[in-house]
């Protein structure tokens, strides 16, 4: 199943599924890779998400119909592609109350203890569905059912860089200090987006991600390093 929809006069949304699931996300990744491999001249930007890909094109060169036609072919070809290689990213997190102001509340909401919340959060190998919202912000899933918690009712005006949050069945690290509505469990001293000579995010789409707990002392030591 593939559906196309005009997102704007210069963009098309390609839907490759209608749920947050690995199979649909794998199709998104494959289409992304096939576009990257041989980018059409009119391609301006691609924004992958859980089960969709937003394709922005140069309206000077092409109209929607041509873009949709070409994307259909890319999609058909991409089905034969092999699953993309993924790297494993390990992220140290300090779950101290100072860094995880919502840890106790999440434990209370889910009828468990903060220790159990930390253990649950560190147990899965998460899949990086896509990067969005802010540079290097990876949407990771799926959170254990026992941890699934809705967003805060009113978002914080400022969430510190490195904050680790959860929302619904997702978890993520805020790469930069931004406003944010996710419930914060802890913070990592690891930089999520390198701004240096070869800029890039720590986590890429499709990567496997694992969190592990560290102490305050280790946090500050790693932060200094």
């Amino acid at each position: 199943m593939v559906r196309f929809r005009a997102a704007s006069d210069q963009a098309v949304l390609v839907y490759l599924g209608d749920e947050i699931a690995l199979a649909a996300n794998e199709r998104v990744l494959k289409l992304l890779r096939s576009l990257e491999k041989k980018p059409p001249k009119w391609l301006r930007n691609v924004q992958p998400a859980y089960c969709s890909l937003l394709v922005t094109f140069d309206a000077w060169q092409v109209a929607h119909e041509e873009v949709v036609g070409a994307l259909r072919e890319y999609e058909a070809r991409s089905e034969k592609m092999r699953a993309t290689k993924r790297k494993t990213v390990k992220i140290p997190v300090c779950y101290d109350e100072e860094f995880g102001p919502d840890l106790r509340e999440v434990a209370a909401l889910r009828g468990t203890t903060p220790e159990q919340v930390i253990q649950l959060h560190c147990s899965p190998i998460y899949h990086a569905y896509f990067l969005g919202f802010a540079p290097g912000f990876a949407y990771l899933g799926d959170l254990p059912e026992a941890l699934a918690t809705p967003r805060r009712e009113s978002p914080r005006r400022r969430v510190s860089a490195g904050s680790v949050g959860i929302a619904g069945k997702q978890t993520a690290v805020y790469p930069f200090a931004t406003p944010g509505g996710w419930r914060l469990l802890g913070r990592t001293p690891t930089k999520m987006f390198r701004a240096g000579r070869i800029p890039g995010p720590l986590i890429s789409i499709g990567d496997a991600v694992k969190f592990h707990p560290i102490s305050r002392e280790e946090f500050f030591e790693l932060e200094r390093a």
């Binding site: 210069q10 000077w60 990067l131």
Partner: protein, 312 residues
């Protein structure tokens, strides 16, 4: 060659056409909110259209040019003066060494552009000089300019032809109260009542608007079943309806993905007008087709690439 910031103004940043093509890293293009004014400014001083300029917001700053420069001001009128003499907009001016350019509060729209011959020189981040304020990347040290900042200018061409943007072109590109939109990807999830409210009523630009998005206040747009959806990529000019029923139109420094339903999308040919909206401005939305939107875009690009028609 340098430009010294004596007063930064309310929010002054280095911008160009932005960095396109990094959506998979979560990086939005950023760049000038009114890219049309920015491009024209550059052309006036003999730069490539995409050279880095200064974007000022609502209140301009004062700038010194110790070694002189050739400058042009485009976009909103901030009542500029050069060593006390009023500066005409949309035309280049020679600044003698040591002269001071002073700008005030806006007289009409949100953003004024200062283009300097040779362009503003900063380290490029992902191929662009544009400041991305939220992440502190790009531009001059990833931030808005402050008092005392010294910006490098690029080398400029020896000869400068005096020219002016034609009145007809200015009239054609002028900000307007009605923004034209095409259907958004979730248009059909909205009820007839919601669409009538959206297209029938005027909205006021909220004080909380910025480069990330223009927040609007006005009649409540019911979302019903359209309220919950799977997060997907979002475009510049997307009109999201929040659960509270108020629209947010995404700006150049937009988040790259979002989970609010989109009722409409501002057409390419009106995006520069979106970038000129001020808090408390009133706007309306006018529905148009994809084909008309594309024709308008092509017409506008043709004009912007035709110096014979642009300048007198």
């Amino acid at each position: 060659m340098t430009l010294v910031v004596e007063k930064p103004g309310l929010l002054t940043t280095v911008q160009d056409l932005g960095r396109s093509g990094y959506g998979q890293l979560g990086v939005s293009p950023s760049g000038a909110a009114d890219s049309v004014a920015m491009r024209l400014g550059n052309l006036l001083v003999g730069n490539p259209a995409g050279a880095a300029v200064l974007e000022m917001t609502l209140l301009g700053g004062s700038f010194l040019f110790p070694e002189g420069a050739v400058i042009a001001l485009t976009g909103a009128d901030f009542g500029a003066s050069l060593d006390g003499c009023a500066v005409e907009m949309w035309t280049p001016h020679v600044v003698k060494p040591g002269m001071k350019l002073v700008l005030g509060g806006t007289k009409n729209y949100a953003r004024c552009y200062l283009a300097v011959a040779g362009g503003i020189r900063v380290a490029l981040f992902l191929g662009s000089a544009a400041t991305h304020l939220m992440s502190g990347l790009g531009g001059f040290q990833g931030r808005a300019l402050r008092k005392g900042d010294v910006l490098e200018l690029g080398p400029r061409k020896k000869r400068m032809e005096p020219k002016k943007v034609s009145q007809a072109v200015l009239l054609h590109l002028k900000p307007r109260q009605k923004l034209r939109v095409t259907d958004g990807p979730q248009s059909e999830l909205f009820s007839e009542e919601a669409k009538q409210a959206f297209f029938g009523e005027a909205f006021r630009v909220s004080e909380e608007s910025d480069r990330l998005g223009v927040r609007l206040e006005g009649v409540n747009i019911p979302v019903y079943g359209a309220g919950e959806m799977i997060t997907e990529g979002v475009t510049l000019g997307a009109v999201q309806i929040t659960p509270s029923g108020q629209p947010i139109v995404l700006g150049v420094e937009q988040q790259t993905a979002g989970g609010y339903p989109k009722i409409a999308n501002v057409i390419g040919a009106d995006l520069h007008r979106l970038g000129q909206l001020r808090p408390r401005d009133e706007i309306r939305f006018q529905r148009t087709s994809l084909a008309v939107a594309r024709a308008l875009w092509i017409e506008q690009e043709r004009l912007l690439n035709n110096p014979a028609q642009l300048f007198v």
